[in-house]
Symmetry: none
Subunit: 216 residues, 4 copies
């Protein structure tokens, strides 16, 4: 008995899936090895196609990388922007929600390894650095700043220098992402991401909330 009667032939079934398979393979390898050290042949092999096929979908290595970023990092930014725009509660809760959402949507996936690679290879590939700067960093920073603006405006956070505090709040999360994909795996004491985030949020909110009003 032939069970394959309604199976589409392999090439057709896969036609639309190809780019996604390549992007997934590329993300994994870029994060593991970095941009320059990732061999396109390995990307193709991991996606189950030949080197030539990769070039049918992506003009060159840089374009492949940009597609990976658009596919895995940018959506997380979109989501964060929506979170912030649609939220109406207390800003402390919003900060918690944004940071946790960021970690859940990006940190836990391999997408969190991209930032490490960008930071390390920005100097060698200025085009990629510029692209990432514009598509990710500027937008991400703006979202965080918007959130702090709101918090201060509503009197929910102490008055602070928004621009600087944006960086301060973003730093630990970026570091956690970077850590996870670099020395983390070979560190002696493993770092628990959730504990890290909670401790950080705890400290930050302690430090940001206005002092309790003094009772007369």
């Amino acid at each position: 008995m032939d069970c394959s009667f309604n199976m589409k032939p392999r090439w057709e079934r896969r036609k639309d899936a190809r780019p996604q398979e390549l992007l997934a393979a590329a993300l994994d390898l870029f994060v593991e090895r970095g941009f320059a050290s990732t061999r396109l042949e390995d990307v193709a092999k991991r996606a189950g196609v030949s080197k030539g096929t990769l070039y049918l979908y992506f003009t060159n290595k840089e374009e492949l990388f940009k597609a990976v970023v658009r596919n895995s990092v940018v959506p997380a930014i979109d989501a964060a922007e929506e979170d912030i725009a649609g939220f109406s509660g207390h800003s402390a809760e919003l900060l918690r929600r944004v940071v946790h959402g960021w970690w859940d949507r990006m940190g836990k996936t391999n997408a969190s390894g991209i930032i490490k690679l960008v930071m390390a290879e920005a100097g060698n590939f200025p085009d990629l650095a510029k692209f990432y700067q514009e598509e990710v960093i500027v937008r991400g920073t703006r979202a965080m700043a918007t959130m702090l603006d709101r918090a201060v405006a509503r009197g929910e956070f102490r008055p602070i220098d928004i621009n600087v505090m944006t960086q301060v709040l973003v730093a630990p999360v970026l570091m956690l992402m970077t850590w996870k994909h670099s020395v983390g795996p070979c560190a002696h004491d493993q770092l628990d991401p959730t504990a890290f985030i909670d401790a950080f949020l705890d400290m930050a909110l302690n430090g940001l909330l206005p002092p309790p009003a003094v009772q007369p």
Copy 2:
């Protein structure tokens, strides 16, 4: 009578100065390009010698890198350990002093770019990762943990999970160092390191100091 016609010799014999010149050149290039992408020929050229000369002083690329780390990063760790061991005041002041010292001794120099490179290329060069882990990360983490221990023991910081908080406190400084040598230079709004550190310390100390005792 001077017959020398102001001719420069083909090369100059400078045995003692060479290693430092080479280490300085190597640090600059490693930080700018990363480990794998730095060409030893460029290191030599920047130090004003030929490729072969470099090999008179360093066995190979990995040993050159280790020498760079020992020369530029390890001394900063030494200094931090001494700071902590010899301090007798309030822990808030100690934290401030350590973080500022760290930035002044390392952050402001190119040595701060090393961490970026290690994080990015640890996977590709396991020997280097192990070396850095042992010589720098373990010692640095231990120093910070020691400081927090002291702070909590003296009742100067709230009770906290030392290990996690160590990471949380270290993260922003590492990030600042990384940032400075990667996307920082091409970012639209420049980040002021001192403002960043002050804001971070302010927030952290607000978050870490024990609540003021309530007056009866």
Copy 3:
């Protein structure tokens, strides 16, 4: 209409023929220059391909060498073993046949130059020495010893120390091969290989055959 203007393509796709062309080129150059001094780029050039192409077929220089040996020397050993196993006449005739066969199949080709290279570079490339020892020397020696065993057992040669005589009989042929590819070409009196082999066989058989039975 022919628009091709007789343009040659940048390269030709010849997957099946390539390895043999590369092996032939490699044999020639290895014999001419030795293992260490043969440049893979020259091998590729002689085979009409680029350096990179060579690496599509052979992992590295050592594997290329092994492939050359398997391709040009080992078959001659196989043939000699078969000659000996299938022969049923007088051992003097067998010795003649084996030595002549050896010369015809190997000596006359460039394969005879391999032994020179192995002897000279064994110390520098222990892996190659081991490989050659196992694949060629052991088998070749065993074949010659088998032949002498048979000869003595059948009373066709005088009783002799098989192991030592094996070496003694092999030596002149190896030397002839070595000679041909080294100082031979620049010697003043050219050496005629056939005359050499005949003189050697003549002398050897005179020395090996048992004394004629004395008439009573």
Copy 4:
């Protein structure tokens, strides 16, 4: 108490010994590694001097090699020529004496490894090949031919083609020398040089002596 009172200072004591020490070191390394692969720095180190010193005594690598040959190989040729010229007994005895003398004076020393190296690297260093051809091969061959001439002229050997038989008789000894410095050391069954030479002489003389006169 100073016991060194009649010791010459080191530099003076060694002054004349230097070239000999360098030649000895060079012989060892050339034989072990070959001409191209021998590093002059290693030669100098083994002789206990610096690289620069070597150049005070020998213009370059090729001249060093020639000096080695003149120092270690040529004297053996001289001795063989004298042996032959001064001998008055039976030619079988002379052949034995020459072969054994050759082995004792050269074969047992590292000088026997030179021939291996010449054969292997003749193609890459034509000047060296030419030098060796003229200084060693031509003279050695002439000596052996002289001996055979004498043997046949005196009716002590059967009539033979002198030129060819010269090569045939020389071949096993050359091979033994080559073997000793190449695959010999890593061969499974060690080859006993004396047994080899005896077996070879035995076979050769059996094959060369005239048939015993038939009794009427």
